[in-house]
């Protein structure tokens, strides 16, 4: 039920299967090569650390089966970070038959340093010289034949994202793997000597022609300066909001709602009507709040348009390489909550779904930073589905309340971050981040990524949503809801000032974030009640899938602490808000 699968499926490896490792520096396009070679759907983006754990995939070549392993990108093989340890482990493991080492043609020097380190392990190695198109645009020319001589290994120029050179790459890798004779490991050089060697090779193979900076390069540089970087960031965020909120409302009204209400729901009503007589079961299935009515209208008509458009925007930003630039601009702000600017990436991912955001914190941050970012995302970052629900609830009624909810979310993150920074022992890492080239995202890669994510939402949100709605319909129809509501009335009606039926949102909110909001739609609330309801839902326990990933990443104790803390904070802030505003209104 998680938004994204986190488990590695153990693929069965037969002894005679060819095993190929895919390695390289971060952000050279290993994951793109991997997904093109295996046909598997893996996430890639234009910044470092997208792949935080290794992935295995099957490949086939001339009827023979093999396996390819996407090793997380590392800058060196000195085993000083968890990712490097993983990489070294794989190289030492004798079962690997060959290595495909991906090199970034726009940054050959550092990549060759890595290449020499890989060669020290003596496995048959094939080099993919990737990003050849970008290099050429930058005026970087590389003599591939000379490079093959220098490396004493095949070098295949590739543009992985457009499938250029990949067939040849696989062919060569396969040949090397099947030869079965291990190469002699090259002599291990000291770091100093290795760089000297790299310098010598660069002189022989690379020519750089001075080019006038392109528009994107200029824009990339400008976006790093406070001015005009901050205005650019503001424009980008406003455009993103416009696309998601404005576009979402349009899509919802023009396409999704009519299709669901005029076609899908009547279809289910007709089918169910043929088999079931009017009564309890009929109502649970296709009554006003039935599984096949709200269970379809909510996820598909109210939520999906926003989720889809959010992923359009997120995927575009990721592939353009803009996000690390935003990280530089917000670094001094984020450092106040104890994390460096690079962590803006998991925060922004959290506005889509917290699960990949929390997994994303694995990339190159200290444990303290991981805990802070994960807690803040779990506490106060509404996921795309919940944002859709907020817009459905508040958008037509009061845009001001909608803005207020997000303002409260920001303030809560800032305060909670400052507290966590003080409370949690340990040190935050200083920012040290490579800024990628600003690129125009590739259309096909973008569409594929949006599709993977949206499909994930449709599959993984629909089942819990229908179960939730079914459960809700059942407790409402049988009158069980009134009994439960009676028990928690002091909390809902007394402390939060919500109608007793709001209990339903609190029950369902445990399953998914948006389900804490959607039941409020039907209750005809006052503006204050809308605000309190939305704020409680915002801070409330961050859905089962997130709780699961928190347990997996940080252990039961920390995960439960986060879960309990978010529930308590939700009720505390909601109640205080209710009583303060009521009190002020009374005075006026």
């Amino acid at each position: 039920m998680s938004c994204h699968t986190t488990e590695q499926e153990e693929l069965h490896i037969r002894k005679d299967d060819v095993k190929i490792l895919l390695m390289g520096n971060p952000n050279v396009g290993k994951s793109v090569v991997f997904s093109k070679l295996t046909g598997m759907e893996v996430m890639s983006a234009n910044y470092t650390g997208t792949t935080v754990t290794y992935t295995k995939g099957n490949i086939q070549h001339r009827e023979k089966k093999g396996i390819i392993i996407d090793v997380p990108g590392t800058y060196s093989l000195e085993a000083t970070s968890p990712a490097e340890e993983v990489a070294v482990e794989f190289l030492k493991d004798a079962s690997a038959d060959a290595v495909i080492c991906v090199l970034d043609a726009t940054n050959l020097e550092r990549n060759l340093n890595f290449a020499l380190q890989v060669k020290e392990y003596g496995l048959p190695t094939i080099f993919a010289l990737n990003l050849m198109d970008v290099a050429e645009r930058q005026g970087v020319y590389i003599d591939v034949q000379q490079l093959e001589k220098e490396l004493n290994a095949p070098v295949i120029p590739t543009v992985a994202i457009r499938n250029v050179g990949l067939r040849e790459l696989l062919q060569k890798a396969w040949e090397a793997a099947e030869k079965q004779e291990k190469e002699l490991p090259t002599l291990a050089l000291s770091e100093e000597d290795r760089w000297l060697e790299v310098g010598r090779m660069i002189k022989n193979v690379q020519q750089v022609e001075h080019r006038h900076p392109t528009f994107l390069e200029k824009l990339g540089d400008l976006s790093l300066r406070p001015f005009p970087g901050l205005p650019i960031a503001f424009i980008v965020l406003m455009m993103a909001l416009g696309v998601v909120v404005g576009g979402g409302k349009g899509l919802r009204a023009a396409i999704f709602l009519p299709i669901v209400n005029n076609w899908i729901v009547p279809f289910f009503r007709m089918i169910v009507g043929n088999f079931v007589a009017e009564g309890l079961i009929y109502n649970v299935l296709v009554g006003e709040y039935g599984i096949f009515v709200k269970g379809i209208e909510w996820p598909f008509a109210l939520i999906l348009p926003y989720v889809l458009l959010f992923y359009v925007v997120l995927s575009f930003l990721e592939d353009s390489g803009y996000l690390p630039r935003l990280g530089v601009l917000v670094d001094s702000t984020l450092r106040r909550v104890g994390v460096h600017g690079g962590n803006i990436v998991p925060f922004i991912m959290g506005y889509g779904c917290s699960v990949p955001a929390i997994l994303g914190t694995r990339a190159a941050t200290s444990f303290k930073e991981r805990i802070i970012v994960s807690s803040l995302v779990a506490l106060a970052v509404p996921c795309a589905a919940q944002t859709g629900a907020f817009i459905a609830l508040l958008g037509d009624h009061s845009a001001l309340v909608l803005v207020l909810v997000y303002l409260i979310s920001f303030i809560a993150m800032l305060l909670a971050g400052i507290v966590l920074d003080k409370v949690i022992p340990g040190k935050s890492e200083p920012m040290l981040l490579e800024i990628p080239n600003l690129l125009m995202p590739d259309k096909d890669a973008l569409l594929k990524k949006i599709w993977i994510r949206t499909k994930g939402f449709m599959i993984e949100a629909e089942v819990p949503m229908m179960l939730g709605v079914g459960f809700a319909a059942l407790v409402a129809e049988t009158g069980a809801l009134n009994a439960v509501s009676g028990y928690v009335a002091p909390l809902t009606t007394g402390w939060l000032g919500l109608p007793p039926e709001a209990t339903l949102g609190l029950l369902l909110g445990v399953i998914r974030r948006e389900l804490a909001v959607l039941p409020l739609l039907e209750l005809d609330l006052t503006t204050l009640q809308l605000l309190v309801g939305a704020v409680v839902a915002l801070f409330y326990i961050p859905c089962l899938a997130v709780l699961g990933v928190l347990i997996k990443e940080f252990g039961m104790k920390i995960a439960l602490t986060m879960g309990v803390a978010t529930i308590l904070l939700a009720f505390l802030i909601g109640g205080v808000l209710n009583h303060t505003v009521s009190f002020v209104l009374m005075l006026l």
């Binding site: 800058y75 940054n107 340093n113 530089v328 601009l329 040290l432 490579e434």
Partner: protein, 71 residues
């Protein structure tokens, strides 16, 4: 002089790097020429350019990198 004190668009040569594994891995070495591309207010990071690559470096780290201005 510390790298962090360099003005924007100034070129300088790295004389001494602090013991920081990641700096070395990113490809920074003593003797390299770098250019400061942007600075942030409030003690934010600086962005430097080495060859065609850009790196954001936190103030704490950039203050420990000793450089000499070249023109």
């Amino acid at each position: 002089m510390a790298l962090y004190q360099m003005k924007k668009n100034c070129k300088c040569q790295i004389e001494k790097l602090p013991c920081n594994h990641l700096l070395k891995c990113l490809g920074m070495r003593e003797g390299m020429t770098v250019c400061v591309k942007s600075r942030q207010p409030l003690g934010g990071p600086i962005v430097i350019e080495i060859g065609k690559r850009s790196f954001a470096i936190a103030r704490d780290v950039a203050e420990e990198i000793v450089v000499r201005e070249v023109n």
